[in-house]
Symmetry: C2
Subunit: 319 residues, 2 copies
């Protein structure tokens, strides 16, 4: 039996890394481990599962096999929800749907196993123990390789019809803008995601020789006042500000918390972001929104995954 | 004492008319009356209240003074919420904040009195007894003199921090577009509201001599294949389609129900709307949304106002 202090086994499944932690009811992480996501050619679904299973088994064993309150997972989308057959875009071995929830339930009989989109978990983490703590109406978003997010409204996570609410990366900020990987056009993600910014900056002459320049490097160069990098951050900031203005008009937010690698540009991103927001969000209720950097950094998704179990009244309405 | 079959006194306060009805628990209207909203110069707040009070008193008296389950009101915004000091933009006599909820409570001691934005009440009506019935995730919107709406997500009305959620008219569909009455730029409302469409059509040569041409006339001329009127409906439809695509990506909707005078253009509005929506909403979950005309017509707001009392578990989370 698990006591009231039992931790949640929290898991973050992404295209770059697999991470796991034991998270206490207060949100503190007491054990952590990670491995690079294997991506060798020919890796099959079962092979990837064995890597994840070994990571989780070792973490729990090293911690002395404590009783667990449950298992919470953030995973790249898309997925069916809440059944969580996952098909993460960036994980070829599971591209055709892997029954992650069912597999974890087999490993942890009798425990709640809850899986949600990784950006949703970041938003939940920021609401539960981060920049949105104590507020009822919060947008959490991640601006990184993609742009994702989650909405907490009236104190509860919004799932929508299929668990896909919170896709702020696909709010349209320029209807005639660049094509988006989703098949649409002019989505926030098409403009503000790291690789999109890098491509735009390279067209303007920034590090044209580099094939693997990243959004984090671009943000760093912006801090060094490289003019193209600064312009790229302005471009991203303006697009994010417009998307948050639309979201605020729809959802009447109190806080928008922004994390992810691109957000590390600091004021170079947040100043043009605020300027665009103030241009478009003029009604009194909308002007009250605070736009802030996320608090929890890289662990937000793990903390949020734990909250799916610890605070199910707010974050888990599914079966 | 009111029995289980007692009706709600439902009220719709707008710039054009004051309407009232008795609404049964099933949503049926058993009594209805209306007057033009008085707007004579010098009319003060108390004078307008007397007109409304007389309308409500006569309706209830004529119906034989039945016991009431409560009072539900839709009123033009802005307002404080849920206290409902109302300052409708189109009602000069109450421009500085009229304590409508307090006044109605004085008249109906012991009964619940609940007031919300008029577009919210339309969305609630369409969810409770109209085009969104039985669905958990619904956008209801009105395209008329303004563009307003409301969101029902996870089966519950979304209020946001200050009761202002649902302002789809201020989702930004063209960041460099025309200025909006809200102070922003490129909002859906700036493009698709009736007077905005009329002004655009007149610039293109439609009825340039008419000073009081309306969106309803424009919709009628579009049905008669007037090329400028048809183009105006395309312009509105495209903007609405983009805004619904953004909303769907954020909220994972099942149904978007559209009412109001402009929507009477039928396929001339809905075809370009669908086309724009399909261009921008390409992910599988978003493509499932059904975009439909509203069901309840002019009475949607009254039916929704009644639902604030009859179905408080879904539509009234405030005190």
């Amino acid at each position: 039996m698990s006591g009231p202090e039992a931790p949640v086994l929290a898991v973050d499944v992404g295209g770059t890394k697999l991470a796991a932690a034991l998270v206490e009811p207060g949100g503190r992480i007491t054990a952590y481990d990670r491995v690079a996501t294997p991506n060798r050619p020919g890796l099959d679904a079962a092979g990837l599962w064995r890597t994840l299973d070994a990571l989780l088994g070792k973490l729990v064993t090293d911690a002395g096999n404590p009783p667990l309150a449950g298992v919470g997972v953030g995973c790249g989308g898309p997925m069916t929800w809440p059944a969580a057959e996952v098909s993460p875009l960036n994980i070829p071995a599971w591209r055709h749907g892997f029954p992650l929830r069912a597999k974890l339930r087999d490993r942890h009989p009798g425990l709640p196993v809850r899986i949600h989109n990784d950006a949703i978990c970041v938003a939940v983490g920021e609401h539960w123990r981060g920049a949105g703590r104590g507020r009822g109406n919060v947008l959490g978003m991640v601006v990184s390789t993609g742009v994702g997010g989650g909405l907490i409204l009236g104190g509860r996570l919004i799932n929508g019809a299929t668990g896909n609410a919170g896709h702020i990366g696909h709010v349209i900020v320029d209807p005639d803008g660049p094509p988006c990987a989703c098949g649409g056009r002019g989505c926030l993600e098409a403009i503000a995601r790291g690789p999109g910014l890098v491509a735009w900056a390279q067209e303007q002459g920034w590090r044209q020789e580099s094939r693997d320049a990243t959004g984090v490097e671009l943000a760093a160069d912006a801090r060094r006042a490289h003019p193209v990098a600064v312009a790229a951050m302005r471009r991203a900031g303006r697009a994010i500000g417009i998307a948050i203005a639309s979201t605020t008009h729809l959802c009447d937010l109190e806080v928008a918390a922004i994390g992810g690698g691109v957000s590390q540009a600091g004021a170079l991103l947040f100043d043009p972001l605020e300027e665009a927001f103030r241009t478009h969000a003029r009604m009194e209720f909308a002007r009250r929104v605070r736009i802030v950097p996320a608090d929890l950094g890289q662990t937000a998704g793990l903390v949020g995954a734990a909250a799916l179990v610890f605070a199910q009244d707010r974050y888990w309405s599914a079966g």
